[in-house]
């Protein structure tokens, strides 16, 4: 597609260490990000998310592969790529603690070679947007962690690059600040102001802001799809059966042997069985087994998994 602004082709990063030998952090991954798209990068610790982000923003040299940011080759011509991309990598550690809020914003604008007079009104806008107005003259070290994190994101935005990379933007934030930052990012996404690639452990953040998700595990992409499609896919095969009373261990074992069970939980006097059934005929089979065991079926319905459940099922290799 012509509106691809970020293209990662066959990216591989291998770390060499005398003690641990070779570690493949990212293994031949490829994906595209389109203009004004907001994409979430998910994966367990050590999956390769940060390595991917650092390679895109040119501060890590990949072992092989290509990264194109618009028409700039990020590996051979990082300066041209950095005109179009910036990143917040370590949240509140990406700012100068001895500078106040405005000085930080002015410095990062200057770092990109922007004259102060051309960014002053934009800096005011950012201060307003991130709710930092009352703290504008305070040194960053005196701000709360949440405020520092918001300032770090604002400092990245002040560079006015069309692509923004965010590595764990809400890590360590309290619920309120996390929600506030999410709201700002969501509004930016809705207004189509930036193309954003964000990595996070917080599924709520990804589900709330992103349209598409890329799940990485052991350095490889295991899923790259719209969240909506993933939910449909998993909803289509996930069922929830509710029975009166409790299952004996023998009954439980019998069910586990025959079906792909996701979870069995007890809710008061009822037992809830969640199962992934790719063939709808299997629904009748499970009903027959339950009835054959003398279980009284209360309800049968579709299971609507949230992103966290989908993620866990994919990462655990449950996806068929």
């Amino acid at each position: 597609m012509s509106d691809v602004v970020l293209a990662v082709n066959h990216l591989t990063k291998v770390y060499h260490s005398r003690r641990r030998g070779e570690t493949v952090a990212v293994d031949n991954i490829s994906f595209n990000v389109h203009k004004n798209e907001v994409v979430g990068l998910l994966g367990p610790n050590g999956a390769g998310k940060t390595t991917t982000i650092k390679s895109i923003c040119t501060i890590l040299r990949p072992t092989s592969g290509e990264i194109w940011i618009d028409d700039a080759d990020a590996i051979r011509n990082p300066r041209a790529a950095l005109e179009k991309v910036t990143a917040v990598l370590e949240g509140n550690r990406n700012i100068y603690w001895r500078l106040n809020v405005r000085d930080n914003l002015e410095f990062f604008a200057g770092l990109q070679g922007q004259p102060l007079r051309s960014v002053r009104s934009y800096i005011d806008e950012l201060i307003e947007m991130f709710n930092l107005k009352e703290k504008v003259k305070e040194q960053a070290r005196t701000l709360s962690r949440g405020m520092q994190q918001k300032l770090a994101v604002a400092c990245a935005l002040v560079k006015r690059t069309p692509i923004l990379l965010l590595d764990e933007p809400t890590l360590g934030l309290d619920v309120e600040t996390s929600y506030e930052l999410r709201w700002i990012l969501k509004r930016m996404a809705q207004q189509g102001q930036r193309t954003i690639l964000l990595s996070s452990h917080d599924m709520n953040v990804v589900q709330d802001i992103c349209e598409r998700v890329i799940i990485i595990n052991h350095g490889k992409i295991v899923v790259d799809d719209k969240i909506e499609n993933l939910q449909k896919l998993f909803t289509a095969s996930a069922y929830r059966f509710e029975i009166e009373g409790h299952l004996s261990s023998h009954q439980e074992q019998q069910l586990k042997e025959r079906f792909d069970l996701l979870k069995i939980s007890v809710n008061g006097q009822r037992t809830v069985i969640e199962a992934e059934l790719l063939d709808s005929q299997r629904v009748y089979e499970i009903i027959d087994v339950l009835k054959g065991n003398g279980c009284q079926l209360e309800s049968v319905g579709k299971q609507y998994p949230d992103l966290e459940e989908i993620f866990l099922r994919i990462v655990k290799g449950d996806k068929k």
Binding site: I59, L89, E90, L111, Q112
Partner: protein
Amino acid sequence: MRHYYLLKAMMKKNFLIIWRYPFNLVAGITSIMMIFLIIFYGAKFIDGGNPSFGSTLEGIVMGFMLWTFIIFAFSDLTWDFINEAQQGTLEQLYMSSLGFGWVSISYVLTFLVINLTLTLSMFFLMMAVTGKWLHLDFLSLIPLMLLTVWGVYGFGFAMGGLALVFKQVQAAFQIFQFVWLLFVLAPTVMESLPWVKFLPVSWGVYLIGKVLMGGESLFAMPPMDVFFLVMNSAAYFTVGYISFKYLEGKARDRGLLGHY
């Protein structure tokens, strides 16, 4: 023009940070002055009358001033790379679209202004306290100081590169402070050992000595003498910068820019 805005931003940031650590600044200047006074009065007590170059009291004032200037220049880049890595801002500097080369040049220029101001202020203070007034021809002195310190920045870059890869370089750094002292003192033996002119800073210190103690002007010096200084500093700077780029590449390969 964009490089000018980068330089301006870098200067403002560094001035503000220094300004917000006033105790560090005052303590640093006080300790340097105390060391100087101990050396100066110690030498005066032992033998203040030796007229040979480098061992006179005037020579001590000049040598100490130049040593301070060189140490500042050498340490700035290393300490600042370490500080930026510790703060988590080094990766942000690397993400400037003007390139890290320009970012570090802005750094160097900023600290050159700060160091020159501090060193010359302390130099005045040293002369006022000791009563040993040297020949101050700023039109000759400042260009020679800048040319001399140019090569030192090459070492600063190389050490900064080592700090990016190996992190704990403080021990090597301490040793180097004394190596610089040897290079500053080397001109005292230049007549008997002419090869010392090839050492870093030694030829520059020798020429500065001619200005401050001999009253010579830069413009009256043989052009080849000045040319040799330019070539000497350019060579050390180039080797240092190439080493830095090599080590920076290693740090990029290993993903060490954000670590400390």
